[in-house]
Structure formats: C-alpha cells, structure tokens
Symmetry: C2
Subunit: 528 residues, 2 copies
C-alpha cells in the first residue's frame, strides 16, 4: 500500500505508454490540464553531483529544492536582491529601478501590495497548488469576475460604463431568444430533430431567463438574471430592470474587444475559482527559498556561461561592484534566465538553441497600482474584486481581491495593458504613468482625484532582469525551435516559463518545466 501516485503512474507508463498513463491519471481523479503527477521521487542518487542554477524564480527554486532532496550540490545565482523573479510582490518601502535608470520607491501603507507579474493561478494548476500545500503557503480565492464591474466603450451607450451584471445576462438572453425563435421557425430542421429542438427551447428558457413565450424581456424572469432596479420595503416589491438593447450590447462587446466579457467568465484558464497566496505572490518563492538555505547568491549578474565535456563555468559579477568578474563551476547548469536577457549573454550552446532563444519574443505589459484613502469602489460602487474594462489606454482596472471590506486605504490596479498602450505608458516617467492612470480612471470612478494617495508602476520590458513579461510561442515557432531550446545541450539546459511552451505565461509552466528538466538531468546522472 505504500506505492505513490507517481510510482503507479510511471509503472503504467512504462508498461503501456502515454495513452494508458493518461487514462490512468484520469481514472485516478486528476484534472487533465496539468500533467503534474505528484512530487518527484529521485532517491539520493544525485549525491556528489553539482548543479548551478541561474535565477531564483519559481523554476530555479523548484529545481533547487528537488535536486537538493536528491543529494545534489546546488547553488543559485540571482540577479535581484530577492527571490521570485517575475513572481514578484512590491510593498511599502520597496525600491526598484527600471532600465533607463529611474528608481521608484513604493509608498503603500502596511499590508498593501502590488503583484506586478502573476497575480493568480487556476484551480487546475496542480503543481503550484501542491507546492503551496506542501510548503504551507496559505492561499485564498482570487475574485476574477465581479458582476458589478464595468464595461466601458467610448461610443456604445453614449460612453456610459455598463455593469457586467447587465451586459453578460443580456447578451445571453438575447442570444437565447433569437435561437429559440429560429428553431420554432424550422430554420434549424437540418441540425435538430423536433425532439431536440423542444429540449433546446426548454433549456434556453431557464438558462437565460426567458419568459413563458421564450422572450428575453422586462419582467421577473430576466430580473432573476440581471437584477432589480429598486426595492420597496413598504410595499414588499421590487422593480425589475429593463434589458439593454441587443445592438448596443454587441457594439459594446466589440468596442471593448469583447475580451472583457468572454475571457473572464469562460476561458478555461480563468474559470472560477482562481487563487493567490495570502500576503502577496512572492510568498510562494519565499517559502521555496526557505527549503534551500544558503543556496542563493543575490545581486549577481551572469555575463557568460561556458561549458566543456565535464561541466560549466559561469562568469558573473556583483551588481553593486560591476567590472570584477568572478567564476563559478559545476557539473551541470540549469538556466532559467528569460530569453530577452539570455540572448545578450555569452552563452556557449548549440546554434539551434541560440536561434530558439533569439526567436521567441517576450510580451510587453505595464501595470500601474494606485493607493487611495479608502476602498470607495467597495463602499460606493459595490465592487469587491474583479475587473472593469475600458477602451481607454488604461484598458483594465483591477480591484484588490484581498482585505475585502476593510477600513483605511486600499490599492487597486489602475492600468494593465499589453501592446501599443503599454509602449506608450512605458515611455512615460513613473510619475506621469500614475498621473495618467488617475486621469483616465476618473472617467470610470469620479472619486479618483479626491481619494488618490500614491502609486507605482512596472513596465515589464524595462525590467533589467526580464525585458518583458512572458514568452510568446506560436505553433510555427514551436515546431522550429521548441526541441532545440528544451534539449540538454551538453551540460546546459534551459528551464522556466520561457521554455514552457505548453503552459506559457503561468507559474505552473515554470514549475513543470523545472521538474521536467530535473528529471531529465537526473536520468543522465544516474545513467553515467
């Protein structure tokens, strides 16, 4: 009875191949999305073998923990003065400097923070959930969808923000009514039997709040979905709210890139529930770092990674005392440095791997966090977590999804954008970004100017340790470069989100990539 899930799965896998193993995982109850099969079990065969890890983000720390457990001698070189890499939390008193030299000091109140990078993970990200569980990192739900959040287009509804609580049910209601009508007019006779169509109309009614005539219209049924305008205690009655016209809803959806309404409710990666650690995203990296005491050397800028048949030589310098190169040696090197930085290093690997590193661009993004005197979005607007989406350059206002209902100051994300607007914002000084975020945001929340206290911003492509936020693989690039970037190249192997093509952009990918790399190196070591 002492057989573990991982052992059982690997036995099944060895005996009958991947499909049988996948089937077994499903039967054993796993959600399929993440191939995580439980903690690595490497024994202690790594004893005496040394591994140098570049980067103390989630990939580097995961690799370090697992390798140490298996007896390896592990050292991590980290550019920043902290662990976590892009899994980063900024708190009051923290200072950071962007490329170009501007230094920001965060002035948030105690207990407030900003997660400039990842701020939540999915309920099917089994690896990160398991690490949180084993390391005792307390997690809490991340409120991704708040139906009281706004959609704001410059033109639809005359530029007046609309609550998701109206837009989402109204789109669904109109769609259901139209389909019900079409099926009654026999327009779908080729697609549906009469019995199917009957079932469909029945389901549509309840699904979308249609009335007894299958119409989505002002009344008790639609109000059940989209809410009431007002309530009269003295009469004991409520006044149903009137659905928005379909045309205007469609305009709003298209104007706001629709991303807003579809993405958040529906996409598998963002389906309810999502989670984040209590106290900030970096709590995970901090807990991991405690597992490898003494392993990390901070403020270390790696400039070259060379190798020969027996090992690697890494050249680095102390960021506080540049120009005095030092060297570290090990038998193996796991390099988790984001590609945009790695492509500038003197890296002795195959031309194929170099080509891959140079070929995969990183997305750019800017997040601006603003502290206000009070959580007016909760107290005045009834918005507890979730998002408002707008066509304005700030694109997204994200409300804090912890400390709900607290008195005193609160921090929200006043801007979060990719692409063109992110370049525009990144080009501004830190003070200008904050000023602009307040100006634009005031169009959604008029309370902004009176309540604003201070703000910080992170422009990802100006962060000297990443030069971007996440790797952007395409199917074509995967075919051309994936195997080359993933291969053990002599004594060097890459790990982290940059390489995790199948789970890119998520911390889950960084952890899975690290586990995969550790397993493969271990196999080589054991075989040798």
């Amino acid at each position: 009875m002492s057989i573990t899930r991982r052992k059982l799965l690997s036995m099944i896998g060895a005996a009958s191949g991947g499909a049988a193993m996948y089937h077994a995982m499903t039967t054993l109850g796993h959600a399929a999305e993440s191939p995580y099969a439980g903690p690595l079990e490497l024994g202690d065969a790594g004893k005496g073998t040394s591994v140098l890890i570049i980067g103390a983000g989630l990939a580097g720390l995961t690799a370090a923990m697992e390798l140490r457990k298996a007896g390896y001698k592990v050292q991590i070189l980290e550019y920043n003065a902290r662990v976590g890499g892009r899994s980063w939390t900024i708190r009051g008193g923290d200072r950071f400097t962007e490329l170009g030299g501007e230094t920001q000091t965060c002035e948030f109140a105690p207990g407030e923070f900003m997660n400039p990078g990842p701020w939540r993970f999915a309920h099917h990200h089994r690896a990160i959930l398991d690490y949180c569980r084993r390391l005792g990192v307390e997690i809490q739900p991340f409120v991704e969808v708040n139906y009281n959040g706004y959609l704001h287009s410059r033109t639809a509804f005359g530029g007046k923000p609309q609550r998701l609580a109206h837009v989402i049910p109204d789109l669904q209601g109109h769609v259901a009514e139209l389909l019900s009508k079409a099926s009654q007019q026999h327009a779908l006779d080729e697609e549906l039997t009469a019995a199917d169509a009957d079932m469909l109309r029945e389901v549509l009614k309840i699904w979308a709040g249609l009335d007894s005539n299958s119409r989505y219209t002002l009344g008790a049924e639609s109000a059940k979905m989209r809410g009431y305008d007002s309530m009269d205690l003295s009469a004991g009655t409520r006044t149903a709210s009137a659905p928005l016209p379909l045309r205007e809803v469609l305009k709003l959806c298209l104007d706001s890139d629709i991303w807003a309404i579809s993405n958040h409710s529906g996409y598998r990666d963002l389906q309810n529930p999502l989670f984040h650690p209590v106290g900030g995203m970096d709590m995970i990296a901090r807990a991991m770092a405690k597992q490898v005491p003494g392993a990390i050397r901070f403020n270390t800028k790696v400039t070259a990674i060379h190798q020969n048949d027996s090992g690697v030589t890494v050249t680095y310098e102390d960021t506080a005392r540049p120009g005095r190169p030092q060297q570290a040696k090990a038998q193996w090197c796991i390099c988790t440095v984001p590609f945009p930085i790695l492509s500038q290093m003197d890296l002795q690997v195959s031309p194929g791997m170099l080509a891959g590193i140079n070929a995969i661009p990183f997305a750019t993004a800017v997040k601006v966090a603003l502290q206000f005197k009070r959580r007016f979005w909760e107290q005045d607007d009834g918005i507890y977590g979730g998002f408002s989406h707008t066509q304005l350059p700030i694109r997204t206002i994200s409300y804090p999804t912890h400390g709900f209902n607290k008195a005193g100051p609160g921090v929200l994300y006043g801007a979060f954008m990719f692409g063109a607007y992110s370049y525009e914002f990144a080009g501004m000084s830190a003070a200008e970004r904050v000023k602009k975020a307040v100006e634009y945001g005031a169009q959604i929340h008029p309370q902004y100017p009176a309540e604003f206290q201070n703000g910080v911003s992170v422009a990802w492509h100006r962060q000297p340790f990443s030069l971007g936020c996440t790797a952007r693989w395409t199917p074509e690039k995967r075919v051309e470069h994936y195997q080359n970037t993933r291969a053990i190249d002599g004594r060097i192997v890459l790990a982290g989100e940059s390489v995790a093509a199948a789970v890119g952009g998520w911390q889950e990918g960084a952890i899975l990539s690290a586990l995969d790399v550790v397993e493969r190196i271990h196999k080589r070591v054991v075989a040798a």
Copy 2:
C-alpha cells in the same frame, strides 16, 4: 461637508419623492438591489422608551443595536443558548436537539464547522456588508461556482458525472453555433438587420469559442473554453478536448433540473463574488451581540405577547425550568420569531396580522455535513469550493470554501435539498441521514467510504426555534397579507426574514426589515 449619505438621500427624498431619491442613490454610486442607505441616524430621542425584542437573530440584534444607540432601553429574549437564530454555525462539541427529541453532538475537528442556514451573501447585499465592515467582521469570498464540480444525471452520459467545465462551455458553444448558422440562413431577417447579424456572428465567435467557420468543434478555439485533455511537455503541445454532443448536454441539463448550470453562474443573487465571514456565519451575530452587552436573556421560551394602549406584556419561561411562567414588560415589542413558531403563540394582535402569520409557509430543507480524513475533493479531483449537482436524493454536494489546500480533515456538505427529498431525509435518524449521504455521495466520489469520519445534519422543519428555513411569499400572498404583517399593530411590530418579502431568504432581508421597523417605531416615539 459633514452631511452623510443617509441625510442627503432623505433630503432629496423629502423634497422630491421616491423616484428622485432612487435616481440620487444611483448617481451616488449605489448598486440598486438593496435599498440600504447607510447607518441609521436617530439621535438620542429614544431616551427613556423601552423596547422588548423577541429573538436574537440578525433582525433582533440589528434592532437592539440601533435602538440602544438612540437611547432606548432594550431587552432581548432568546429561545436558544446562543445568538444568531438561523444564522447559525455548528462546531466540534456543539450539541443540538431536534423536534422529536434526538440530540446530535458534532464531532468535527477544531477549526471545522457547518453553517446549516445561510452560508453566503451577495456582493450587492449592502447592509450586511456594511455591518461587517463597521463591526470588524472579516469576510472572505465564497466560491459559488467551481468549474471542476460535477453535474450528474442518472441517465445522461450513461450516468457518468460531467464537469461543469465541459457542460457550461459546450451548451454555450452549441447555442452560439446554431444561432450563427440560423442568422446566415436569413432565418432572423425580421429580427436583425444585416449589419446587426454581422456583429452578432462576430461576437458569438469570441463569446463561445467558435472556429473561423463559426463552428463549435474540436480544436484550439473550443479548447480555450473547455480545456485540454492532456499536455505533452516533451513536445510542447496540448491535446484539445472534444465537445460533448448537444443532445446529451440538453438531457443532462433537464435531468439535473438545469438549476445547476444556470442558477450558479447566472442568477443575480448568486453572481460572483459572494462572501462569508471567516470562521463561520455566526461571527456576524456574535459581533452584533457584543454591541449590546447585558441585553440578551438566553434559554427563554416566549409563550404569550399581550398588549394594551401603553405597552406590551410578554410571558416566557426558562427552557431549562418549564412550567414557571414569568413576565417582562415594555412600551414596545419587536417580534422576530419565525412565523411557524409565532402562529402557535398566544399573540394579541389584529386578525389581519394573525391571518398573515398563519398564511405564509416556511420552506423545508436538510443539510448534512460530513467530515473526511483529508480534502480528497481538492487533492484528487481538483475541486476547490463550489458545488456538484446530482439527481440523487442528496441533490447537492457543496465543497468547503475556506481553508483551501489544507492538510488534515475537511468538512463538506454531503447533502442539501428542499422539498420531497428533504422530508424523506428529515424522517430518518441523524445517523441514517449521514449513512445515506455517504452512500449516495460515493457514486460521485468513490473516496467517500474510505475517508469518512463523522457527520451532522440539520432538518430545518424539525428545529424547535424555526420549524422551517425561510418564509415563502408569493405575489398573491403579498397582496393579501404583506401590509398586515408589516404594520405596527398597537405596540407590537414584526421584523425579520419572515416579513422581508422583497428580500426573503437572505440575511440582508432580516437586517433591512429590522432597520425599517426601528425607523417606523422611532417616528412614532418622536411624534408622541
């Protein structure tokens, strides 16, 4: 600048009536659903006036707090040995006795609990949120929807439970594809202009994950909504999952009362986010009780409420020493006793009020909570909070929405049903209910028998302090009885969820009803 929201609103209301006041509330940023306008501001004109409150649930406690603040002399008589009424939390060591005499002792581990009554409130329940804020009751999100939860019909999909993550996007996807097709075949030309239809098809595509030909079919687009079957790290690829056939989805929805999929994602009352207090629902009542020290007399069974022109006389007995009637007097009485109990009291009120009390039935419901050795639904099945719905008599399995990811034992709700099945379960002994919940639940979670530890159950119509869970008003009964039950009847007025026809079944209703009653009594007192 010291004018409060409530004062401003009441000035607007006095000047220009209800519609203007509603408009002002909207303009001031209020979500409209709850008419809560902020804390009462009664001054101290109540000095010297005495009020006797029956029941220390949320309505009674709210009334007591607000009246004390205004100088009133307040006393509460409470049947139970605790505050909260139906807003109740059962923890390890707690004992309670149902009608018929069976006593259960809860054996939950420390930190675990069951909320047999209300277990969450909506983000637009402004009154309860404001009381939590002012009283420092910490709240956390209640995970209502978990896409990893199951829908289970006895027949659809051969009785195999299906994940909401598949059913919800697949219904949406098929619906969108059919409507897109119908609109292309000009079936909707009477409903939509050509331009509208173009916009509609564009929105449907993104909304529901249709492919470039507007089909909901196996591929990257549908996988974005419903997820992947597996992920291959060595190839960097994911295998898209295949949509379920529409006919089977429709069957499942109808078989499972569809309530499951529509209700939880869509109904305004249950839209994301919802909240619950950290540590159990009774934390709110406990915090309220601290505001009225010395006011509550516990274990007090009221048998009669009489009145004359100058005040009320309440007859009660100590539940531990029955048969020794005592009396309490006051100038006013606010009675929050649930109607099924109240209808059995010697209550000296108008025939109209009595008729109302007798006419409004209470819903019956049973909740069964089960403790298991470990949170296998999280660790094995990836279900963190939310619900599974089944046609089996247990109807609902509800997963704990706090303490996520913790090691050690966990408590879930193994059954929650209204109507017929609730009578069936209520008719069993406590041990039988738990046994049946484990037996049925094992059809969804085979881990049940091996992991089960203990359980408790609450059959609401067998609770001696309520004889049911919530009042069931209908529009017809409202017309006939609402004004009579709501009126100040001499010196007696009813308050609480029973009377809150417009917000029935929610704690918000109990609080709003209490505020309304306090305002009306205060007006009388000031006028006198």
